[in-house]
Symmetry: D2
Subunit: 348 residues, 4 copies
């Protein structure tokens, strides 16, 4: 256990993910935020960009090149994908990096290039990167210099499906992942689709068959399955700020029941502080995890014989982003894994 | 075409469905609302129960037994299921009935008893009842004395799936119907789950594997398929008042493409005033139909070869309930089908 | 009464106001939309910009200079303030104009310059413009070539206060107008403050002491009072798409009671189709007018002796904008004033 | 500073306030929740009533009479008003009580009887009770056996107005308190007005001139002013779960400016951990305090000379209820006042 405070920088602190990192970081007993960067807002106090973070004694926003990196031990990087790889490549070697962007999640450079429309510029860093799904890559994360935190959808989906696929309890063919997300997943950038009047009082799908979290899910399911997997991934935009829900529809392996799946998940996560089954008789719902680092899972038999309905929910900005980043930071610096992350969900 | 005004009663006018019927009915050129009933509110002016309906010259709420049925030509019945059958059985034969409850939707008395936990008390009426999915039972509806309007989920689902199942374009095995609904679908009754603080800012599934709209969907798909069908039907509660979205995940029949499905739906509904495909390049969303009687459909190829993602959206209170009831009323009384129903959606 | 259809253009059809005008216009029996303009979207079908308006047979969006104005009898102008004056000045004289922008609302050129930061470029048009508060300028509107529709806040405020100020029932000193609006009032432009995640699940004031609707309210109150009036106008942004609520706090004139105020308002609007008092015992709320052209008023005695609480609610996009514009159009073209505007509110 | 853990009971743990107390309490380093009571849910695990509180190792819900009070040092009481007084009167003397209900807030028994419609049954307890506005009754709270935590509206209002009234900076005549609250203020009880479909997408006032928080505000303002005060208190229901906003409109004392008010508030709260002025140039908004124990204040000059607009915002369930209760608990037990309460707000 590290005795003192680790000096951290938050790169790209003006996005929702950066702000949520700061929210968690300022109360973390072993974290000292020494730098916040946001090139377009450089020079401003953080409270001008995020008034809810006033009064916390935060450093002013700065440009990346204004930071004295000699003084920084860890950097959280919340930049948009595409920019992270160059910024991270330029950091001194002693800075350990928890990347929340998508830049280092895909191990296969060709898959990256296909989905992100450009070649990766830091392939050697990619090779070092550890996929930061804390509950499944814990040991590798401890020693990593660069952790690539999973996307929000992959986090919720993989926590749900990996144990079942690994154990061969569900088939990997025709895996339907019907996903629902709050609007904060789209970030703070100005887009017509995320205006209050556009996203409010309504629901619709987006990026059907084309969402960049699909290859990330497939990459990890393939590791678990031992063979290539192609999934249906159908995200929907829900009129709520935070929260993500995965409804996965799967065919059970021969002889397997929904109860078997529930038991396998319960067993796999029995010792985990952040992942748990929904209480008896209660279905998971995003309201059960809002503002927290928890993931709640649920299983129900389908009306169609031999099929199962698998459910998972997280707060996309916490377990799906900043919270898992802090969890990985804890692992990397030998701090008790739950430090700074045990806030109970905010309901209502 | 009927020249004058048809005298109608709205039975169970204090529910959301009844209120929406009144909203549509007061502007319908061939409808005269002569009675509104709601036993628990009998004696009150409608504006006391629904202030948004003030100033419309509506009759006071009355008990069912206070209505002079001799003067009534048509009755809309928006009572909770279970009560409708008795009330409707007691109506004089000359009153043509558009039932919005679930009581006469299931043709098989055993299926009804299984899902509603009691034997049907008016099986002879059940036999006369015509299933009121306007676009698919139009001719039978014209001559019916009793029309059983479909549930909201079945309406959106069957408009989407019936033409494809009939044409054999999709397989009926492993049909996944992942559904999302606004809160008004749960009615105005007091339930903890539909309080603002419970349903707001969150999403979760409910009645997984146990929703009463499943047997209704299966009944009609079986007619189309020519054999029994069992579906996965997984509804979710969305923090919005109105709107319903169906995301159906299906395996294509051999040799069939998503484009074939889209073409088949476009062709089937080419002449229909209320059902249409989403504009090119745009996915359906509930925002496109709010407050209107329209249904918008969409089709996308799945990333999994041989599969298709089928989408449908309606306003659950209009096309999914009161609007379709008015559409059926128009059919029954020889009025132009679109009368009183052509309001454009309300957005934002 | 005009027998046939008036040919209209909607200038600036890509804003929320333009879209709502189209929603109302397509069902108006005496209106034919022959042109929709939006320079930045010129060439697109309207359904690409507003999918909820698909299937209505609308003309494609065009640039202003592409319209054949010879064929147009009336133009609704929903452009941002500042641009309207030039566009309207360039229209041929035979085109009667219903302007929904702020450009012609302020009669005093100095006041305009002060609040809008630039001199008015069409002062001669300004002199012809009639302030389009339908219930209070009805006769002048009938004959106007150019009607300047009031802002949404002034509409709700003036319908409430004008009769009381005219009759000397309330004092015009220390008039507090605490206003609350849904987010659609801010338009479809991309602003951080109107993102779902920023405006959702929260409320705050904006433009305190600096909102451009204040001088408009003061202009009309001054006419009614016969002397200058300065008001407190404090708007708040509410997490809802549509709806506006005015809570005005006023001192009663000597000897006047809250009941006197209520009676005066009831009497003033007794014959008006769109303005009415809330039902007995019920307070006004935006839910009572959503999607409709109605305005609902309420009056309560204050706990402080000699003071009164005055309330008014409208749908900001309908009575506060497009609906009142259509009402004025009806007046200008000798059409029954309520034509196309009698939809009952949409609730829930 | 107390070294160990104080054993606490939460009486009335099934309400939103009780749940929020548990949320805060389980992470409080000096609090051990040994009993949770809720007569109607007695016997159930807390997670059945509040699934978001699963996995926290909480005691089962019990009846009040099942609690071993010998083991309890402090009781939080979140019962509905009217019931608290009897329950608290029955507690053993060694149990120190933090009451969140309204039962002990009004010092004057006649005022209580008038507003709550019944005589107080524990007037001797009432005399001991200390009004728990932490920042203004800190010393008395430390020694109190019974603390009556203020209502949510009084908390936000009094933090804003007390220093100004005490200093004579604003007049106490014609004080307008236009208040806005999220729906959670109405509790978890089943009421039509707080259904999602009723409260959603709309805003309206309620309890105008009749809200029970008015006499509480007046009681404390009278203490500060040295004379009776009657206020206008006009609450509105806002479609959000949490958050409360006060917009107070006041006349300045002769020669006083809005800047003077801002300076006085800034000075008064300079050393306070939970109350602060909004950042320069930024208006307060509920989004700045959601989920936290902070109160943010703002001041703006009115357009009317000699008047000022005063603003205050809190999370009604935290600083307005459970958070302030914990703050008082800390004071009563000699624990650092901010313990367990320094979570940064949750945004978005």
């Amino acid at each position: 256990m590290s005795a003192g405070k680790i000096k951290v920088a938050v790169i790209g602190a003006s996005g929702y993910t950066g702000a949520d990192l700061v929210r968690l970081g300022v109360r973390h007993p072993h974290m000292e935020i020494v730098a916040l960067t946001a090139n377009t807002h450089a020079g401003k106090p953080m409270e001008e960009v995020y008034p809810h973070l006033a009064g916390l004694g935060l450093p002013r926003l700065a440009r990346n090149d204004e930071v004295d990196w000699a003084d920084v031990q860890a950097a959280f990087c919340g930049l948009p994908h595409g920019t992270s790889q160059e910024v991270i490549a330029a950091l001194p070697e002693h800075v350990r990096v928890i990347d929340i962007s998508a830049d280092f999640r895909l191990r296969d450079a060709d898959v990256y290039a296909k989905w992100y429309g450009r070649a990766h510029t830091a392939p050697e860093l990619q090779e070092q990167a550890v996929y930061g799904l804390s509950e499944h890559y814990r040991e590798a994360i401890r020693d990593a210099r660069l952790v690539a935190c999973p996307g929000c959808y992959p986090t919720a989906t993989l926590l749900l499906l990996l144990p079942l696929v690994k154990a061969g309890l569900i088939e990997t063919e025709d895996l339907i992942i019907d996903a629902k997300s709050g609007v904060s997943g789209a970030g703070r950038g100005l887009k017509q689709a995320t205006l209050f009047c556009e996203a409010g009082e309504g629901l619709g799908p987006y990026a059907v068959g084309a969402h960049r979290h699909a290859p990330e899910i497939e990459q990890e399911l393939a590791v678990a399955a031992g063979h290539e997997v192609t999934v249906n991934f159908t995200p929907h935009l829900v009129p709520m700020s935070r929260g993500e829900f995965i409804t996965a529809h799967a065919r059970l392996a021969a002889g397997v029941t929904a109860e078997d799946c529930a038991a396998a998940l319960a067993e796999r996560y029995a010792g985990e502080p952040f992942v748990r089954m929904a209480p008896d008789g209660i279905l998971p719902a995003t309201q059960q995890v809002r503002g927290s680092n928890f993931c709640v899972l649920g299983v129900r038999a389908d009306r169609i014989a031999g099929r199962v309905i698998l459910m998972s929910t997280i707060d996309n900005l916490v377990k799906g982003s900043s919270g898992q980043a802090v969890q990985n930071f804890n692992l990397m610096f030998g701090i008790e894994e739950t430090t700074g992350l045990m806030q109970a969900p905010l309901f209502p």
